[in-house]
């Protein structure tokens, strides 16, 4: 009896140590693999530069492309947190990141006026579009953004079509609210309009996939739409484009060191200047051409329509601090 107890305890002990060892082995392998891969040059791990970025720039893979370049240039380890504009602004307000990448001019202005952000620079833009099922059951092809939304509301109330909203206070969600407003709706009325209006609460890519699964209509930025169309072969197609309201301008904002002295303003400033530098502007202008036959984003200097930021918003470098 006692010996069998001993035996079992040995077995249990052995299994427990297997788990613990298993915890260590991949770490060791992981470390060596990381070195062999050499995708990331090894930096002083103490200097971590944190940004919160709007989901579209992440879902399209642009940050994967840019991250190692800036890491090498500034000799930092860049931590990129995936967050829609609403959450990114909240992280910024709490001082949890060093810089944010967002796209909602109105809320950016409030953020800066409240003293949380400084040195905003616009660095890229693209457009939104309304995508939907190929057959376009609501018949919005050829309409303006506001007219399409009106139509989608009517059809949604009849139960014939669905609209998937980001529903996460992101920049895209803010744009959607703006279009509802232009179409003459009260947003709360839309939210309470029933099964035809689906609030996903997800990033741009996941929301697109959801709309695709549900064969619903969705407001998306062109870049994420193209990227996912290639990656996931979407069954929904772009139906409405080229409305001036669809202009989508991305901005980088540093967190105000007066509000949060521990944020790394020196690196944030360097990062923002780097984003508006010729080098990165050229990358932005060409990123995606190989896969999609066109670039996913446009360099900010080519923006020349109403609603585009003033030239000094992207040509004036921000101050550089040195110790």
């Amino acid at each position: 009896m006692y010996s069998s107890l001993r035996k079992r305890s040995k077995i249990a002990g052995a299994l427990l140590s297997i788990i613990l060892l298993a915890g260590l082995v991949p770490t060791v392998i992981g470390c060596t693999a990381e070195e062999a891969e050499a995708q990331y040059p090894l930096h002083d791990p103490l200097v971590r530069f944190k940004i919160a970025t709007t989901t579209s720039l992440y879902d399209t893979g642009l940050w994967y492309h840019l991250e190692p370049i800036f890491e090498e240039l500034a000799n930092v380890e860049m931590d990129i947190v995936y967050a829609g504009t609403g959450i990114a602004l909240e992280y910024g307000r709490r001082g949890d990141v060093d810089a944010i990448i967002v796209h909602d001019r109105a809320r950016e202005d409030v953020f800066i006026a409240d003293g949380y952000g400084i040195n905003r620079r616009n660095f890229a833009y693209n457009f939104f579009l309304i995508a939907g099922p190929e057959g376009d059951p609501a018949g919005i092809t050829g309409l303006s953004a506001a007219e399409s939304f009106e139509k989608l509301y009517d059809e949604g109330m009849k139960g014939t079509v669905k609209f998937v909203s980001r529903g996460d206070d992101s920049g895209t969600h803010a744009k959607e609210k703006l279009i509802w407003k232009e179409a003459g709706f009260d947003y709360e009325e839309i939210q309470g309009s029933g099964d035809g209006y689906v609030e996903a609460g997800k990033g741009m890519g996941p929301t697109l996939l959801m709309a695709n699964e549900m064969q619903a209509y969705v407001l998306a930025d062109i870049s994420t739409f193209l990227a996912y169309n290639l990656k996931a072969d979407l069954d929904i197609v772009s139906l409405v484009e080229k409305d001036p309201i669809f202009l989508n301008v991305y901005a980088a904002i540093a967190i105000n060191p007066e509000s949060y002295p521990k944020t790394k303003i020196d690196i944030a400033n360097r990062f923002i200047n780097w984003l508006i530098s010729d080098e990165v502007q050229e990358i932005i202008g060409t990123y995606g051409t190989a896969e999609y036959g066109r670039s996913l984003f446009y360099p900010i200097a080519t923006c020349d329509m109403p609603g585009c930021p003033p030239v000094e918003d992207y040509t004036t470098p921000v101050p550089v601090y040195s110790k």
Binding site: A12, G23, I29, I80, D96, G205, P206, Y260
Partner: protein
């Protein structure tokens, strides 16, 4: 169906060829959760002993309170920890938000009730006859405590493994206070939940298989211990 099959084949390939990204994420996950289980045990086992061996007013209430927290939602803990360690929060000066340390802190809080509760019931389940015999043989209070812990060691071990299992399979805390940063705080569960939606199905499947494998090992160990 072919998509799923191809995904599975690729996933197994990623595991067998020790794909650096898969291994790194799995290793990080294990590291973080093993740390949480070890730190949690070091704190909770002595505290559970203190609760068990002392008689005090409201002990019953305390134990049922601990048991109520077994199934506390991970996102609630994630939110709680976030508010505390965010730079605007009371512990913001530590600057640990969006680091693996933050995940460990959250997971330790998560598994504390399980470790405490299960350790206490483990100690409770020790046969009273053993205690009576020890007392009749003139054992001191201290010697009896050691004896009880020795008798309950399997069940205590089971508690630790349960805690580990809960830690490695949670996603809410890792996502909210870890931030799913590639190469830094991306663990198995956050990678699966976010990468799937970004179209990286193979990576997610590979990680899912590893997670199931870990869960399997945990269960086998649990069974072994409970069968004794």
């Amino acid at each position: 169906m072919t998509e799923l099959w191809n995904g599975l084949v690729k996933a197994v390939e990623l595991i067998v060829t020790l794909d650096p990204e898969v291994m790194q994420i799995a290793g990080r996950s294990l590291m973080i959760s093993v740390s949480s289980a070890v730190i949690g045990s070091v704190i909770c086992i002595p505290v559970a002993c203190l609760i068990h061996f002392n008689r005090f007013h409201g002990k019953r209430f305390l134990v049922s309170l601990i048991q109520t927290f077994y199934s506390v939602p991970t996102v609630a803990i994630g939110l709680f920890v976030f508010v505390f360690i965010s730079r605007a929060g009371p512990l913001g000066g530590l600057g640990i938000l969006f680091t693996p340390t933050a995940i460990v802190v959250g997971q330790v809080i998560l598994i504390t009730p399980i470790l405490l509760g299960l350790t206490i019931s483990a100690l409770n389940s020790v046969d009273r006859a053993i205690l009576d015999t020890a007392r009749s043989l003139g054992a001191s209070g201290w010697q009896m405590a050691v004896l009880v812990i020795k008798e309950a060691r399997f069940a205590v071990m089971a508690a630790v493994i349960m805690g580990f299992g809960r830690a490695i399979s949670e996603v809410g805390i890792s996502l909210m206070v870890g931030g799913n940063i590639r190469g830094f705080t991306r663990v198995i569960t956050t990678a699966i939940s976010l990468e799937t939606s970004k179209g990286d199905i193979e990576l997610s499947l590979a990680l899912g298989i590893i997670l199931i494998f870990i869960a399997l090992v945990v269960n086998i160990v649990m069974n072994r211990i409970q069968q004794r």
